[in-house]
Amino acid sequence: MALSAAKPLIRRHTEIGIFLIGAILIVIFASTSDGRWANLYNIGTIMQVTATLGLMSLGVAIVIGTGEIDISVGSTFGMGALAHLWLAARVDPVFAALAAIVVGAAIGYVNGWLVTRTRTPSLIITLGTLMIFRGIAIALTDGFSFSIPYAARNGWTYFLLGGGDVFGFNTALFWLIAAFAVLLVVLKAMPFGNRLLAVGGSADSAHSRGVRVDRIKLSAFVICGILAAFAGALEAGKLGFADGSMGRLMELQAIASCVLGGCLLAGGRISLIGALMGAFVLSSIQSYLVVTGVQPQWFILILGLIVVGAAYGDKSLRNWAIRK
């Protein structure tokens, strides 16, 4: 049968499921929304959301690759946004974005340090830091406004850091493409990537081969923090303001993107392109629900149902591919 010829391909490329789901959803969304979903303006919006969620998902995928998880990224995103906004109103946005990156790296370092030093599951550590940094973000914005005056929202650096469009797409999309390309090379073609996946595949085996497991994990958390905070900076650049709840619940979307995209939570097997496709699918669903005027209270419910359905579909596809 012609279909079974695809089995080895599906086995080897775990991200195929999310691409199929994406293709099916695109057809459904385009044909049932009367042109409100599939138009250039809306696609541009989806791409902007995909870009920030995608940057976060890439970072989470890297951490998942080591067999750990980082669910604090939603708060890291918020902290990055606040750092960017606070400084962008005062100095050049380039320095503001760099400051956001430093904040993200610091949060990632704290996560990684706690996980590797205390040998506590990263799920609970980063759940804690999720709350800690959300608390700090809310405290910082209490009675203090984080926004850039309209007069200051100009200059090419502001434009490049999420504040403008190129070819109809927010500049964040191009940062996403760049980050994806760099991480893909690091992961597949450099010793660091080989060791990172080895740690996720079997930390004991990697350790026995002389790989510094803790250092690799720590680096993964730092990379993840940087990407989440930078995504926050880009989002802040687009909106020009932020409050303490910025990025809330995004961590769940980022993890969903990774898992739907074929990243194995046990570690060692991740797909960066799959994680991006996952982010695109989630952004598309949200956009569809918005443009078709679904009431907000149904929004999160329907999103959840589609995620569960997609996860089940993907799992079934993989099971089918494993069978002889």
């Binding site: 080989n194 060791r195 080895a198 595949g201 079997s202 085996s205 990697a206 026995s208 002389g210 790989v211």
Partner: protein, 257 residues
Amino acid sequence: MTQQPLIQVKNLDLYFGAFHALKNVSVDFNAGELIGLVGDNGAGKTTLIRVLCGIHAPTKGEVFFDGRKVEKFHPKLAIDQGIETIQQSVGLCDNLSIARNFYLGREPVKRILGIPFLDFAKMREKSSRVIRQFGLRENVSADDEVERLSGGERQSVKIGRAVEFKNRVVIMDEPTNHLSVREREHVNELAVQLKEQGLLVIYITHDIFQVHKLADRVVIMENGEKVADASTDSMSAEALEDVIRQGGRVVEKQEAV
């Protein structure tokens, strides 16, 4: 022997929590020697070599390598010093290809603008050439994931890796498990060859008769203690087997006499 031992273990104690895994173990290992490390399950053989290859740090006692006291225990340091270990249960990452496993931790790189990129051509070519000698099927490529391999082929990757890099010590933990008769012979020949090249070979096994034929000296462990340490010239395999069967008591009696 007048030369200084390559590895000297002195009064080593190791606890895992409350469990006393190694009890006051002292052994000398010399370069150019093939040493059989024998004992039942849980005797402490694997724990001892895991100290030598840097996976566990001892609770008490000292290890000297080449006359210098080992201060820090980490597999990276051991590997850098030329101690290569064929572990029984760890050493391979199922999710990575043969070539990536082969070079894990010491990947060959080509630098472009100072940035290290994996040298895929070298990784593929060398790893498959070396491992083929140890029973890797022709239709398995160096790009295939280790997960697909049979027990013997997995072992062949580990052995190939131990042979490929220029080492001073090769530790083999039950190297012939899962191997066919011919592969087993090949591994045993190899152990002797490595020894003849001047390396220290530590060969761990349950099978005293097999290792007696190969080894210059046999060290027997029982319940975390060293209970015998004899050259194969001075003690027959049967006598050594008795020691194992008696849990070391024979030797104590002999010493007492």
